[in-house]
């Protein structure tokens, strides 16, 4: 494999590995020039100054997006309140389930369209939006559709009650998937929703609003309002909201926790992470390399649970790093809509700058930087897969979440040291363990303070599995039976 980068086939003159372009067609998309706010089942105009959403791969404009001001937020919350009282809370669980099943099927039917929209707006490779994001979105709706008439068995006692109106603010890294994580359990539990997608990635949520119309979901049960941070702030602080669910940065999460304190609003936060991916010397080496790659370079590293700190047992460090560099040299960076692209675009200029800044700090602090050899397109926001070796536990790049395709490699000598280093972070969202020895995996997993622990795999998600963090990674769980608890209260007490 050492010759991969130089390799055209002798005698043929053809570089097979320069696969001919295989772009997914955008003809499946029927985009509007501009999108309004989705309130009470209709697209309506926003009263803030509209903004453009662009493709991060080309910096070209995709559509104009309405901006919700506080009056629009009021209207959306009022629509959700009305829908909660007049229609959604009067339906049986089985009937709510029917709508969710219908939504799930429509997501599957329009899967290609959603995947193309997601890759266009977010910059993630089409193979990920097609094979990971959109299938998981459908899976989430199917899973919670099944729960809608079985809430008595959610572990909250008989006849648990919905909370009312849920305010949900989601990030730009998995726009549609985060929407599904929020909306599916909320609706299954009987709540109505006002959701605000991220400013840079509103497109798939607006197509999802069209799906809700197609599914004939009662007006106002789901409202989708677009805008920037102030829109989100107005939404979570709205007095008529019973529940706040936020996924995003720890700084914003902290502010939301402060502002909602004492309001009686139930709060779940899914925030940052700095996950340790621990590779023992008896790991299945080829699969561990794949797992490391998937752990940090999946979705350009824009993953809150990314395995951004690689902890390698010292006696295999050199071999692992060498193999990793060779593997990274085969990754294809470029057009997110090309079916062979492995690494897409960074979502925004702002994020690109943050990644650059933190990487430069890493270099200044003495870590050794290695960047995969790949051609960076002229337009758009790009960052080549990067590894830092010689990273110490006190390095900034070993402490702070970079949220980009940057891996910090540290070493350990014993399982105890691995656990200590893995836990030595303000975060605690996820961790990975690579070892062929089952007893070691169980013993180490037991001591890690992280909400999700993967063994001999990484970044695998399933709607039946609860997801959430320790410490500054947030609180509350999403997914599984546990995910319902965030949207229900026991019949015996009231959140109000």
């Amino acid at each position: 494999m050492t010759d991969v980068s130089t390799g055209s086939t002798p005698g043929s003159g053809s570089g097979f590995l320069d696969y001919a372009p295989a772009p997914e067609s955008t003809s499946v998309l029927h985009l509007k020039q501009s999108y309004g706010l989705f309130i009470n089942g209709e697209f309506t105009e926003g009263h803030g100054t509209p903004f453009q959403t662009i493709s991060p791969a080309t910096e070209e404009r995709i559509a104009e997006i309405a901006n919700a001001n506080s009056a629009d937020v009021d209207a959306a919350v009022a629509a959700a309140r009305r829908a909660y009282e007049r229609s959604w809370s009067t339906l049986s669980g089985a009937d709510r389930g029917k709508y969710l099943f219908r939504i799930a099927r429509l997501v599957q039917e329009r899967a290609r369209e959603l995947a193309v929209a997601e890759s266009l707006d977010n910059g993630k490779p089409i193979k990920e939006s097609r094979d990971v994001d959109v299938p998981l979105v459908a899976a989430w709706f199917f899973y919670y559709a099944g729960w809608a008439d079985k809430l008595d068995y959610a572990g909250l006692g008989p006849a648990p009650r919905a909370l009312g109106v849920a305010a949900q603010v989601i990030p730009w890294n998995f726009p549609l998937l985060m929407l599904a994580w929020k909306i599916a359990p909320a609706l299954a539990a009987g709540n109505t929703v006002v959701l605000k997608p991220a400013e840079t990635t509103p497109l798939s949520a607006l197509i999802f609003a069209e799906i809700l119309q197609q599914a004939e979901l009662p007006a106002g049960v789901v409202n989708i309002i677009t805008g920037a941070g102030d829109t989100g702030e107005a939404l979570v602080n709205h007095p008529d909201v019973n529940k706040v669910a936020f996924t995003g940065s720890t700084a914003v999460g902290r502010a939301i926790a402060k502002s909602t304190a004492g309001s009686g609003k139930k709060l779940t936060l899914e925030l940052g992470g700095k996950a340790a991916n621990i590779v023992f010397d008896d790991a299945p080496i080829d699969q561990a390399i794949e797992g490391i790659v998937n752990g940090i370079f999946f979705n350009q590293g824009h993953v809150c649970c990314a395995g951004s700190r690689l902890l390698v047992q010292e006696n295999v460090h050199d071999e692992v790093v060498e193999r990793l560099k060779e593997r990274l040299s085969t990754l294809r960076l470029g057009d997110p809509l090309d079916k062979n692209t492995d690494i897409g675009a960074i979502n925004s200029r702002e994020q690109l700058e943050r990644i650059r800044e933190l990487s430069d700090i890493g270099e200044r602090e003495g870590a050794e930087r290695w960047t995969a050899p790949c051609v960076i397109p002229e337009k758009g926001f790009w960052f080549a897969p990067t590894i830092f070796t010689n990273v110490s536990t006190s390095s900034t790049i070993a402490r702070e979440e970079i949220f980009g395709p940057v891996l910090s490699v540290l070493t350990f000598r014993t399982p105890a040291e691995a656990v200590a280093k893995a836990n030595n972070t303000p975060y605690g969202l996820s961790a990975g363990i690579w070892s062929d020895k089952g007893s070691r995996i169980l013993a180490v997993a037991d001591q890690l303070r992280a909400g999700v622990i993967w063994a001999n795999t990484f970044n695998r998600f399933d709607p039946a599995s609860p997801f959430g963090g320790y410490k500054e990674s947030g609180y509350g769980r999403e997914g599984g039976r546990q995910g319902l608890a965030a949207y229900l209260e026991s019949a015996g007490w009231s959140a109000r």
């Binding site: 494999m1 097979f16 001919a20 080829d286 699969q287 085969t330 062929d436």
Partner: protein, 336 residues
């Protein structure tokens, strides 16, 4: 003398890597020290490679290259000289309607058909790296390998004497599963020796692991490594007589072994998936897996082969489709 301390045949590669005191025990320690394989992760990686989208010019190149890498095979009890001559004619001229179609790498037959194949090939017989066609013979009591060593050696020597350029031998899976790695090793070394021609050159040795009978990926990695240590020029997945035959994960794993061997020694070993690869679409997945695991330079007849029969016609149909823009049917390609 304890069986495990019994000296093994001093195969050059094994002596170099493990040491001159090569015994069953030292071989076992070496093989058991190889890193494990995680089945879920391996299959995931293979599936991911299978999603590559090979279009237009890349596809055209891939289709031609697949043909150039095929060992066109007939291994039936009912094989006759006429059938073998027909196979050879197809190998030389796969698509009479398009003379730009390349030739296959080799024809693969039972030992008693080697002379017929050599004669039928005539001037087309030779090194596939130069555009000619080799004759490969299965040997060593193929497909089960259940015969004594002298019989296996005679089977091999017979095929070589008849003009076989390549010998596809089977390992003793029973001995391997019983843990008698030394016995499997010694047999490969002996067969390799039986591939020696009078002029001192060797017929190329492909060692068939029959991965469908080894069952675990850990076994496949050990058997691959063992075969290379004993002198294999190629490691081959299957006889085609056992299901499952070649799979993408197994082939990926064997390519990883070959890559690691190259990393360690600088020497390139060939890989041959055989059995069950019937469509162009599947074969392209293998090309992708080779290129992205060991590099494009492996996509040459002396480093990669497909053991197949029906694959060729599907590739020809796809090739015609690329040229004409229309799909034709099975009556527009010839039977072999």
């Amino acid at each position: 003398m304890n069986a495990t301390s019994q000296a093994l045949a001093p195969a050059e590669r094994a002596v170099e890597l493990i040491g001159s005191d090569l015994t069953e025990k030292s071989l076992r320690l070496h093989l058991e020290g190889l890193p494990g394989v995680d089945a879920v992760g391996l299959e995931q990686r293979a599936a991911a490679l299978g999603t590559r989208s090979i279009k237009t010019t890349s596809k055209a190149w891939a289709l031609d290259r697949i043909i150039e890498l095929i060992d066109l095979t007939t291994l039936e009890g009912a094989d006759t000289p006429g059938k073998v001559r027909s196979l050879v004619a197809k190998a030389v001229n796969p698509d009479p309607s398009d003379t730009s179609t390349p030739r296959v790498a080799a024809v693969c037959v039972y030992g008693d058909m080697v002379a017929t194949a050599v004669e039928a090939l005539g001037a087309a017989h030779g090194d596939p790296d130069s555009g000619l066609i080799s004759v490969a013979a299965v040997a060593t009591a193929f497909p089960s390998g259940r015969a004594s060593l002298p019989v296996k050696l005679a089977d091999t020597a017979d095929a070589v004497a008849a003009g076989a350029d390549e010998i596809d031998m089977v390992i003793d899976r029973g001995a391997f599963l019983a843990g008698n790695y030394g016995s499997v090793f010694d047999q490969i070394v002996a067969v390799k020796e039986a591939c020696r021609r009078d002029d001192g050159t060797f017929a190329h040795l492909k060692v068939i692991l029959e991965t469908g009978e080894l069952n675990t990926y850990d076994n496949v990695r050990r058997a691959s490594w063992l075969s290379i240590l004993a002198g294999a020029d190629f490691i081959k997945t299957s006889t085609g007589k056992v299901s499952p035959a070649a799979t993408l994960p197994v082939t990926l794993l064997m390519l990883e072994v070959v890559r690691d061997w190259h990393r360690l020694t600088g020497e390139r070993i060939g890989v041959k998936p055989a059995g069950g690869i019937r469509t162009s679409k599947d074969a392209i997945k293998y090309l992708v897996t080779v290129a992205e695991t060991v590099g494009e330079q492996w996509l040459q007849p002396h480093l990669f082969r497909f053991g197949a029969s029906s694959l060729l016609n599907d590739v020809l149909l796809q090739r015609q489709k690329l040229t004409t823009g229309r799909y034709s049917g099975p009556d527009y390609v010839t039977m072999d």
